[in-house]
Amino acid sequence: MEIVYVYTKKRSEFGRQCNFSDRSAELHVDILPDPSQMDNYIERNPCDTPTQCAQEMSEHEVNTECFQTETRGINHVEGGWPKDVNPQEMEQTIRYRKKVEKDENYVNTVLQLGSLMEHCIKQNNAIDIYQQYFEEEEEVSVGDEVQPSAKTINVFRDPNEIKRTATGLSWHPDGAKKLAVAYSSLEFQRATKDMCFDSYIWDIDTPYIILTENPDKPEMTLKPVSPLVCLEYNPKDSHVLIGGCYNGQIAYWDTRKGSQPVEMSSIEHSHRDPVYKVIWLQSKTGTDYFSASTDGQVLWWDIRKMSEPTEKLILDTSKKGNLDNALGAISLEFETTMPTKFMVGTEQGQVVSCNRKAKTPAEKIVCTYSGHHGPIYALQRNPFFPKNFLTVADWTARIWSEEIKESSIMWTKYHMAYLTDGCWSPVRPAVFFTTRMDGTLDVWDFLFKQNDPTLSLKVCDESLYSLRVQDNGRFLACGSQLGTTTLLEISPELCTLQRNEKALASAMFERETKREKILEARHREMRLKERSRSEQGKEEEAKDEDTEESSEDLVVRAEKEFFEVVEFELKKREREEEKSQSKADKVRVGYREKDKLIKHSTGNIALQKCVVYSLITGIVNYQ
């Protein structure tokens, strides 16, 4: 239907009609060109006119006010009901639903989708498509060719300006989410007045970004009266920590009670030297621990009564309880499976094995193991084979067997840098870790390779002082001289128990122990022979009274011989040089010969040096 609107207006109301007529053209204005105006202008010839066949465009700028946006979510609670249906009213909703259900479309769709859905459900019911096949079989490690590696996860730096060494580390006993680090300065008289005494507990999950922006963010600070040299969490109560101080006292903290120590041991009964190690004991009350220090004492304490130690042991190997003779203790070892025995590593390089339950103090010291040239910084029994223990001192790490007292059964090569700390891996019997003074962390797998570490990592440029492995064997923390604690994660090959590893490790330790036993027996035989021969020889010697040269004379003679040898070699080299210079055409051969000679001569010198050195030490021992 057309829409029509009729509009009527009378003709007479419109106004008069327009009538047009012709008219001829008229000139209104005529402006003639004025030649004098030309003088105002300079003709330009040629004219450069660029042409561009492009769209003409213009540029506009607009700057609006900053618009604040916010992202929000909506929690949809009720369906999208149409306007005329009130969702609160049950009647209306039911009616609407019924209406939809009657719709033809609905019926068809549901029937169709229903059959599709049933198909899939039946599929699901028929078979579990994500079933794990071969679940019982162990995964064959494809990574035999994969290089073991370790990755730095986190680094905690000492927030103070004057950096202290991280000398002690302890993992939190439950879940190991926290790491307690003891900071002190072990260098003699290096501690300045401004040095901070605090030690920190770090949360290892602190993201690295937060640490670098706000580096002084330890989870908790411990404020002792003197810097802490060592620190240990109580394995039974994760809120309690004990720390051994530089001044010989021992303090204990409860993390629920704040940063100040709950109690400190009394000065009169504490150690006289820094407390180098504290270990918690296995007891019913869970409050006993013992401490060792270089003043030669090992003291037992109970947390509840810190005013004096419950027991005392003086490390005098002559068994007289003489403090002046005592060896300074630097490390302690205690295995909870053998609660009556413990071992002490001394400054003098000996390991003293002690029995706590002995009747007399003299019997407390059972035996000593010597073989190291320097203080024993770490001492730990193998968690799988407690008869074997690891010691880390001077430039080597050695593995000992309890039965062999004269020497270690296995040892690493002599490194270029001092070894400062070491520990066994808690999950693999033949793997242990060591740290060095040049900042390197070594991972040794003795079943795989004994000459070199399986993995050698340069953690930092300064020396590493302490090392602790977490109980799962996967993470380890190492502390450096400038207080930087690095948290590393080791690749899975180094922390999963391989097949037969226990059996192989046990066989290896037994084999080495046997070898040492045989060697020991041989040495004993030789010594007996020597003794019997010297007894005979003494009778003959009584005849020619050769005055024994005093040790100084011997040393002087040795020195003279040494320098003579060196001079001889130098002269020989000069002669060779002259010879080679004259033979211009045989230069190359000459060099090669010279090299050989140098090698030979230096080898000789080295040999001579060894001989002289052993001579001198032999003389000293003889004294």
Binding site: H76, G79, W81, R97, V100, V107, V110, G114, N124, N125
Partner: protein
Amino acid sequence: SSQSEVEETLKRIQSHKGVIGTIVVNAEGIPIRTTLDNSTTVQYAGLLHQLTMKARSTVRDIDPQNDLTFLRIRSKKHEIMVAPGKFALLLSLLFFVIYLLNPDI
């Protein structure tokens, strides 16, 4: 009649082993039929609607001739199965079933 067929189909699906719940939702997000409580239903409807649209557009973007026939979301505890209705100009029915895997019976 067709109504009873629909009823029967839905009942049958619900009675299968392992099926926890069935929801039939229409284009506006109104649950037409559900065996779960309202708040759960609405939550599922809202979330899955968006996901299904996204899945469908993904499939169509890769190949315009293609279309989404079924969507399965498998999680540790359940599996959600979505059968989308024919997508006409307006979105039509979605059909959800919530299915329990590894029932701890």
